[in-house]
Symmetry: C2
Subunit: 429 residues, 2 copies
């Protein structure tokens, strides 16, 4: 992609109302624009990251045996009367009345809708277990939206719902998601800590919250070093051992009780990015979502629900990966892998070298953003640091005469001079 | 994918309120479920088609130089005050009041939001042309929603917006989209006829509507045979010649005036699936979206907008491609390429042959749905015809003993007996 043909409107000044670093950097890097309080438009650079996060979540849900559906944003209020949850969300629920005066709402979550689909579709225990997920926009009318996409009103969630015949099955579904979440966050380069949690408005009696570590996190957490050490993408850790690993927020943590040896106890700051719930028959019973069991008896289905804040994760990733110069994207979610800087646009040798490197990278399937703006070198270096692409290739007149370009790794700052061909080979690997 | 682990709830009966064939077939084939009037949940099979249609649209927009963004569903009503369009949509606009009593709305279209992004981001003609698109859910509170996803209230649109310095530039952008639309529909196996149209609520004075041909189409259309003959994916037809080709709805068509030779005049029934508009400064002028021109003067930017009904297209494709037995998906949008039928589940030889064929196809990247249900052969044949997968592979005990399976092409009905290995090779091609 050529910057000159791209839509990447940077902000020079940090907007005064952006209090946290991810919000500031997303605005400055032209990733988002506020539309109204807590509601954002995603510009091309931001949407690329959002789509990559979404795709990783999708792949891990598919790998875990969940099936993707898409439920509507606008739900009939009567379903919430049936579940008895109509008042639980209070003013955070965006209520809507349609032209025929029917009460509707913009879904803050979808337990009711999915239970309605289930009860109209599934009749027998033979069709269980079922796990349905969606990646869909939701709305919570926060009284004071802030922190950018970290706490927006319109936000993208992955939410899924498991249906099982009995508690043992429901627990297997819960454990399956527990592991899938650890894998999902690890694929984005994040360390996630699962912590026992309260169930809140979703209900139920078994729940874990997943916090990712970031120096700017909301709360202090204490955890067993194993969460950093286990390779969740390769190892198949025992689920009971995983769930037994120590993890506590600072108000829960008690050094007197904590049995983790001091050298194995880690501390950090956490940001909540996921939450899983087992709530049994809380929705299936009032809504009549039953299946015929093996003994011929109808029983309400056992359910759980599982959420990941997809748009929130984009902010959380920046909170976890940035420095004073800007964002440092982990490769799996970077909007482009390479920023290719032409230091002298209009110089035939530079232009030619840039064209060849860009073509070589694109042929190899490497996503590259070419900075072909007529800006000075300082501005270009600052920009590519700001937007945080993992690799920078700098093409200048002196280097081109010597047959070399400079390769810089954003995260380590390491610089290497090498031939354009060698740069292509290295980045295509 | 194994049917026994999938979520594909077929309906035995055609719901009485489904009047048109695509609505009936989508419900029967377990693609969608109604949530409330004109509002649907997309089940796994339907969502696969929706995602494929969406991806084809995305690729063609990218190829045409448009950049993907994502604007929020909930818009501030004040933007519509600025554009002067607040009353134009009347009761079709879903109006919402948030907890702070701010008037908002669920966007039926996004001209105002995108113009707001533009005016806050772009200042100079040097940054033009710009073409931004999104694929986003919209809401129109139809008084009498019907025809399933063909005329839903919550629906998925691809909408994009072009920004140019002057009329000549805007016309180039318009023409660029004109051709991109013909390519997009052709990639789905559809013949689309562009017709001069009224601008309606979008405004402006140049507009084309794209109708695809289907025997069940809403209105009769007359058109030059060239629309069927040109290979829009390979040829680069002259845009002026394209736009001059004859196309008229029955109320416009006048045999006295039509200059197409009778042997070149085609007739068919059409379904509107796209609409493009040039409207100049209708939004940029009242909203102050100006750029500095080459002469140093500020001028309002010239705009156009372009829509494709993505969820509507899923219904329109079925209207175009079905027979009395069910859907006949064109390969590029089929939810799975192959339906693999095990006629005797539990028979070791059949199970083994099915496993080997499924594994071979999946290794080759072919999407396959394995019917491993305990149903009789008739039910399985009827189902795979109903859901319309392009190819069927039938594995039965007699064939397995002879080392053959049956390959059936859904669209032609042609059947071939061949070895499992040959079937894999043929379907992987």
């Amino acid at each position: 992609m050529r910057w000159s043909r791209y839509f990447l409107p940077l902000l020079k000044e940090t907007p005064a109302d952006a209090q946290i670093i991810s919000h500031q950097l997303m605005l400055r890097a032209g990733m988002i624009r506020q539309s109204s309080a807590g509601i954002y438009s995603w510009l091309p650079l931001g949407l690329r990251v959002l789509s990559k996060v979404e795709q990783i979540v999708r792949e891990e849900m598919n790998a875990a045996g969940a099936h993707e559906v898409l439920m509507p944003t606008i739900q009939p209020a009567e379903l919430w009367q049936e579940s008895g949850r109509s008042e639980d969300y209070g003013k955070e629920m965006l209520r809507v009345t349609d032209r025929h005066e029917r009460p509707m709402l913009y879904g803050p979550t979808h337990e009711e809708v999915v239970t309605d689909i289930f009860r109209r579709s599934v009749k027998s225990y033979r069709d269980l277990p079922i796990n349905l997920y969606q990646i869909q926009w939701k709305f919570r009318d926060e009284i004071r939206p802030r922190f950018g996409v970290m706490r927006g009103r319109e936000f993208l969630m992955k939410d899924n719902y498991s249906f099982d015949l009995d508690f043992a099955g429901a627990l297997r579904s819960y454990d399956n998601m527990f592991v899938a979440y650890l894998k999902t966050f690890r694929r984005m380069g994040l360390t996630a800590i699962p912590m026992r949690a309260e169930s809140g408005a979703i209900g139920g009696n078994l729940s874990h919250e997943f916090q990712i570590l970031a120096s700017t996190g909301e709360s202090e957490v204490f955890f067993d070093a194993a969460f950093e050490e286990i390779d969740f993408l390769r190892d198949q850790p025992d689920i009971e051992e995983l769930k037994a690993l120590y993890a506590a927020t600072d108000d829960q943590h008690d050094p007197e009780i904590c049995q983790v040896p001091p050298e194995r106890l880690r501390t950090g700051r956490g940001i909540e990015v996921g939450h899983i719930f087992y709530f049994g028959t809380k929705y299936s019973r009032p809504m009549g979502a039953t299946v015929m069991g093996p003994d011929g008896q109808e029983v309400p289905v056992e359910m759980g629900s599982y959420g990941i804040g997809v748009s929130r994760l984009v902010g959380a990733l920046i909170e976890a990966f940035h420095d004073e110069d800007g964002i440092i994207w982990p490769e799996p979610v970077a909007p482009f892998r390479v920023g290719l800087i032409n230091l002298r646009v209009g110089d035939a040798a530079c232009d030619d070298a840039v064209d060849r490197i860009a073509a070589g990278l694109e042929r190899a399937g490497v996503e590259v953003l070419v900075d072909d703006r007529e800006e000075n070198a300082g501005a270009k270096f600052a920009t590519v640091d700001l937007i945080g692409l993992p690799w920078q290739v700098v093409v200048g007149p002196r280097g081109v005469r010597q047959g070399v370009v400079e390769l810089k790794h954003r995260s380590t700052g390491e610089r290497t001079e090498l031939s354009p061909e060698a740069a292509i080979v290295r980045l295509a690997a």
